[in-house]
Amino acid sequence: MKTIKYFTLRLMAVAAIAIAFALPAKAQVTPFTYFNVDWQFNAPISNNFANKASGWGMNFEGGYYVLPDLSIGAFINYHTNNEYISRQTLPISNSAALTTDQQHSVFQLPFGFATHYRFSDGACQPYIGLKLGANYTKMSSDFYIYEVKDNTWGFYVSPEIGMNIYPWTNSIGFHLAAFYSYSTNKGTVFNYDMDKLNNFGFRVGVAF
């Protein structure tokens, strides 16, 4: 076990869980790997298009511990943020205009490489992690029976802190994480320009 100085507040937060369950030394189903399936909550930071936070997303990832505390692996997650835009007149071109209300959506699908550095290999495994990869993002406006959209691609990077908790031996556990993400996607729908995406959020799910 690492010394207690690495746990501080995080250890205090899970202390009740640790006490409630008898904590074995190694609890993962496959000790040298981890897999997470999470529900995701995502809050955009001013993408100029659809800024309402939502819980419409999931995260899937897994890794192999190439060193006792360092894993490399892969991830994919998806998320939708919507925002209702009230009626306005939009300039379509220098010759056309459109008056309508809209439902804006930003659908993100980042995927790529994931790495964790964990501070314990016991039942509670706090970690810091980094995701790097590509981000497919569709920005779309839906109005009446029409949809106008822009499909974009960008580079994606996302640091996170989290914890995998394995209360029972060789059984499923829990996963908690907080993340920030940045991607370079650019897109335009009508007169809305989206230039880079910044988000933050958290994930809750299972670990095994």
Partner: protein, 200 residues
């Protein structure tokens, strides 16, 4: 994975009509003084002979166009052959005749009973000319208004009649295909509000 996207809640959209307007940017509307508008609305239906909508509701809509054109500085006249501009209004009651046509316009020209350039009294054998892209697709319950340039319109078998402004008003989803006259009137007013270049 793209099917994991959450569809937006379309119930949150209001029930007012969509108003799309386009115009020819090279046309100087201040060059025109008079206009003619028929006293009925062409109904694009599922019959190959045209029908015309002339009742009180149709007159309400036509009178809205008249009010806005007059306010923009034009004078309505009773002889179409003498008018600088022609304004033809159509209502899409059925898209039966458009199955198989591409989803951009001017698809309505394929309706057997659609206004033809000769209606305006001249010989434009080449048909219509839209100097700007039409990007919306057909839908039942839509009102179309085309403004044609009759003043500067050379005639001939290969000549085309130019549409200098048009408005597409729509918003009915399912349910009755009857146009909501109050909402349509609001939408016609909006079409002129977002077309300030029409003002003389």
């Amino acid at each position: 994975m793209v099917s994991c996207e959450k569809d937006p809640d379309m119930d949150k959209l209001d029930n007012e009509y969509l108003v799309f307007t386009s115009h020819d940017t090279s046309t100087k509307f201040s060059d025109f003084s008079t206009y003619y508008i028929p006293d009925s609305i062409l109904v694009i239906g599922d019959k190959k002979d045209p029908e015309y909508w002339k009742d009180e509701n149709a007159q309400t809509l036509i009178n809205t166009f008249v009010t806005k054109m007059n306010a923009a500085g034009y004078t309505r006249i009773s002889e179409k052959e003498d008018a600088d501009l022609g304004l033809q209004v159509s209502y899409v009651a059925s898209t039966y005749y458009f199955q198989g046509y591409y989803n951009d316009g001017p698809w309505w020209g394929y309706y057997p009973g659609y206004w033809y350039p000769g209606y305006w009294g001249g010989n434009w054998g080449g048909g219509w000319y839209y100097p700007y892209p039409i990007t919306y697709s057909y839908s039942t319950g839509s009102l179309l208004a085309d403004m044609v340039n009759l003043k500067n319109a050379p005639e001939g078998q290969k000549e085309k009649l130019t549409v200098v402004w048009n408005a597409y008003i729509s918003g009915l989803l399912g349910g009755s295909s009857n146009l909501n006259v109050n909402r349509a009137t609001t939408a016609i007013n909006q079409a002129f509000t977002q077309s300030p270049y029409l003002k003389k």
